[in-house]
Subunit: 591 residues, 2 copies
């Protein structure tokens, strides 16, 4: 055996035993005439005391940090007072130790000088980290993310297996899927001039599996989008893909909630409260100005249009008078001590969200103080205070505009305010479901209706019956839902359409003609002809969920071999040029 123990397991129980360890030299130090080595592997660190021979070799420069060595020695108690209580192995050391066969033996892989210090790899510039990802991953802090990802994967599969979900691999070489982004394409050598697409999601395949009677499907699926990479996107990413037959929304929610409960409990010892908060899209927009509200803090939006519509303040009066206008605000408890500079900062934030400016009231005992307070009589001031449930010392921030715009401005202020006022507890995980998304959204550029989620989303049937014939498409709610964690959309799903006629009607409504839909989705429409079950599902962005749960800044931290913003892998150099023979075989040319 090349090792009899890992570097994380020797304790007092092993004192007196011979031990053979294999790992990396974390540090070497001389102390009191002795030479100590911290030997490191995935499991921990063990203190090694070099034998006289080994010490001499070390002094000759024959051992360096990050050399990988097989060490043999005798387990002994550390001298009193030199124990390290932070380490499992902190009470013992391996004494009289040497590399098996001596330095430079076959059991010694020497290291060249390092491009960065392993323990500080996260402080290095990211391009260098990625180029030397094999060293970066030796950093226990970085390695832990990959180990945690593994742990989460096992919990996911165990939980879903328990609930009767079947793991099915769907193809990677497939047909263009309709998620709206650009496909990665693969030229076919055997069918020249034709291309496979890498899947943007297994959406159609999982629906097909429901038609097949598989009932409950999941897959930790690689998905691909050829996008211009914005911050924190990757060309390939992973989603937990699920689909269930014979269900309604709640059946799925229960499974997902249990899954996340298991993960947070087992991985971070955190007891999640279930069921998660559920709110409609309309409510989320009205209360939080966002379809992904961060509920770790309050700061709800209150509308005061009715109160101010007859006031003397023209901006408010005008906004409240418009059919689609609104005056609304957020109350910040004990925010009245805000400085002019802080007000300016918030005003800047509001302008970024599209506001012209930001009005505010400081709440005093039964009245409001503000440059614009004079426009509102005592009764109005009192009503406003009551509406917000405000107390003296609070600050009310106000926007007046077209409804959607004003809500967006106020919603956009919630997070900066929460950060400024330290309302966010970093280790809190606040999940909520947002339901009843609109089925369609108006595409102003192309002057047509698009699907808000995707065209396989089932409408709310009452709305469909009522508003479709009236052509009031914007009023039709869908059976789509998102799962939101701390203000981030982490999962998105829906109850699907499972009848061919309705599916075709939806395609027509969003302007896809029959030829187009037959070409792209013909096989799904065909499948729907043979007794399709009602079904629904969800896709959870695994990279992002793990990133948020671990409190990290970037999904690149939880991906073993990420690509940079140019979709390049700095370690391997992919993508790279290919030769003329390969191009010829594929029947393509470079332009």
């Amino acid at each position: 055996m090349l090792r009899t123990f890992t570097c994380g397991e020797l304790t007092e129980k092993n004192v007196g035993q011979k031990a053979r360890l294999y790992g990396w030299v974390d540090s070497v130090r001389d102390h009191g005439g002795l030479t100590f080595i911290d030997l490191r592997d995935r499991y921990g660190k063990t203190q090694i005391v070099a034998s006289a021979d080994f010490q001499a070799a070390i002094h000759r420069g024959e051992l360096k940090t990050e050399d990988c060595v097989q060490i043999e020695g005798q387990v002994a108690l550390r001298p009193k007072g030199t124990e390290n209580p932070k380490l499992v192995t902190g009470k013992v050391e391996v004494t009289k130790a040497n590399i098996v066969g001596g330095p430079k033996s076959a059991f010694h892989s020497a290291s060249s000088p390092l491009p960065f210090e392993i323990a500080k790899s996260r402080e290095t510039n990211e391009e260098l980290r990625m180029e030397y990802r094999f060293l970066d991953l030796r950093n226990p802090v970085v390695q832990k993310n990959i180990l945690t990802r593994h742990r989460i994967y096992q919990i996911i599969r165990r939980t879903l297996d328990k609930h009767g979900f079947i793991e099915v691999e769907t193809p990677i070489l497939t047909k263009s899927t309709p998620e709206g982004a650009r496909d990665y394409l693969v030229p076919s050598r055997l069918n020249q001039g034709e291309f496979y697409a890498l899947p943007q999601s297994p959406q159609l395949f999982k629906q097909i599996l429901m038609v097949s009677g598989l009932d409950r499907y999941f897959q930790i699926a690689k998905c691909f989008r050829d996008e211009d990479l914005r911050a924190d996107r990757q060309p390939e990413f992973t989603q937990l893909d699920m689909e269930m037959s014979f269900i309604e929304e709640n059946d799925l929610f229960l499974v997902v909630e249990e899954l996340l409960k298991e993960i947070t409990k087992e991985v971070m010892g955190h007891e999640l409260k279930t069921p998660f908060v559920r709110m409609t899209y309309r409510e989320a927009m009205a209360r939080y100005g966002s379809d992904k509200p961060d509920l770790r803090f309050g700061l709800p939006i209150e509308e005061i249009s009715e109160i101010v519509k007859n006031s003397e303040f023209k901006i408010f009066k005008d906004a409240a008078a418009k059919t689609n206008g609104i005056v609304a605000g957020i109350c910040l408890p004990q925010g009245a001590s805000i400085s002019r500079k802080e007000i300016e900062g918030l005003t800047e934030a509001a302008k970024k969200e599209g506001a012209l400016g930001l009005a505010y009231f400081k709440v005093e005992d039964g009245k409001l103080d503000s440059p614009i307070a004079k426009f509102f009589d005592a009764a109005a001031q009192s009503k406003i205070i009551k509406k917000f449930g405000a107390s003296p010392g609070d600050l009310i921030l106000l926007a007046a505009d077209e409804r959607a715009k004003a809500l967006k401005v106020l919603g956009g202020l919630r997070h900066p305010i929460a950060q400024w006022k330290n309302l966010v507890s970093e280790r809190e995980f606040n999940f909520c479901w947002v339901l009843d998304f609109p089925l369609f959204k108006w595409n102003e550029e192309e002057k047509r209706w698009d699907s808000e989620h995707h065209p396989f989303t089932s409408p709310n049937f009452e709305d469909w019956k009522k508003y479709k014939p009236a052509n009031e498409l914007g009023k039709i709610r869908s059976r789509a839902y998102d799962l939101v964690l701390n203000g981030n959309e982490i999962a998105s799903g829906s109850i699907r359409i499972h009848k061919k006629e309705l599916q075709q009607e939806i395609f027509e409504t969003i302007g896809l003609d029959k030829e187009e839909t037959d070409k792209r989705f013909g096989f799904l429409l065909k499948a729907f002809q043979f007794g399709a079950p009602p079904h629904g599902g969800i896709a959870l962005g695994i990279d992002r969920v793990i990133t948020i749960l671990l409190g990290l800044d970037s999904i690149r931290e939880v991906i073993a071999f990420p690509k940079n913003q140019k979709a390049v892998c700095p370690m391997t150099g992919a993508p790279s040029p290919i030769n003329e023979r390969q191009l010829k075989e594929l029947g393509i040319k470079i332009r």
Copy 2:
């Protein structure tokens, strides 16, 4: 809830309860004035007795096979004598049943006429099955393969997790890997003129993970090879990919053996004997004429060159006299009753393997009977009988040729003989390890040495030290191993090289120049400079293993959405043409 029970769970305990089921109409039949429906889902079948209303609707033609319907009724005992002991639900039926809301309601998805009968889908031509894979997968026999695959996946992960293996996803959009086959390539839009390759295996990434200190890695990995598809190959396939640090061959074998033991036990209730037989490549070739010997039956090869070298039979004498020649045979117990026609059949099989003909002896009491027996004196005949341990009534088949050729011929006869004589028990799983493969093989076409496995395979160090300087490359054994199941290679692996200098020496030996290796494998060589641990691993062909374990004919049976021999998916039509805009964006043209 859309269903309160599945179609596989109602028993006597539920008698008297209301039940709501949702599934497919497996059959409809009238009997004794009543109409019975077998309703089917993934979990089983339940007998439904239609209410009067429903019966009338059925008689009007409002229900067809494979309609998907929600049925509500009352659980009752079947009348005495009509129970079906083969079904879990066979003692009960759901009576007074109707579709919720009646036929044609929202809870009724009607089916068009079927292209084939579901239960007989496996008898349909395969192209049609694949086009209608969603119906084929409704066949419980077909569905079971996918369910079993799921079960095997969970056992794999559970077992490897228990042994400290970490599941890591390696990239799909990556750099060309060196497995010798053609890569699937993906044009990069953001880096025009450059291409990603889809991985033929995660070989280099898993080695990099070992350099990273991850220690034990696994992945159920999608791999891709753009080959001209021979029988039973797929453009994308799945391998269980494993790698371990600080190990020797046996450490890995123990894990793999336990894994397969768990799988066969849990999935087929079969108790596997471990450790598996281990034999060297040389032994496998000498005894079985194959590096993937089927050990479910005996029929070993015995060499009789020494005995016949002085005989009067010229063919044997000449072959035995050559440095590289051999006379050898297989003894078939009680095969002497072979007919002339059967002899001719075996001779044909031998010719296919490259033999000029096939000699044979029928074993009689202490002597041999054959047209060529006269060339061998009594002593030689006796020695031959002894060599084979033959008994009267046995048949000895003989080949005389160049060693490799003769062994191949005899090895190739073992399987047809075993089938003809019914020596193979279909439900036996006979695993064996084949070790010590040659490191290099001579490439006659290119007049150079190639790696027998791949260039990352470690040589046997003693051989390397001895034969490399002498330039006797053919004699160097490697530390590569294959796992063989019933005569099929199902896994292949090796202890790897982990030092840069040796890796470069290997590259040179197989004729790769420095520029080439730096371009293709530079990142691995770079990683090896920073203290690489000794490591080794294996890759197991999941599709094939499951196919063999389930006793199926084709890997397409265990893949949810397989492609045909033209690498086309008959269901989706992938690959397909793309439009000019897409080509332009990718910076490529069709030739």
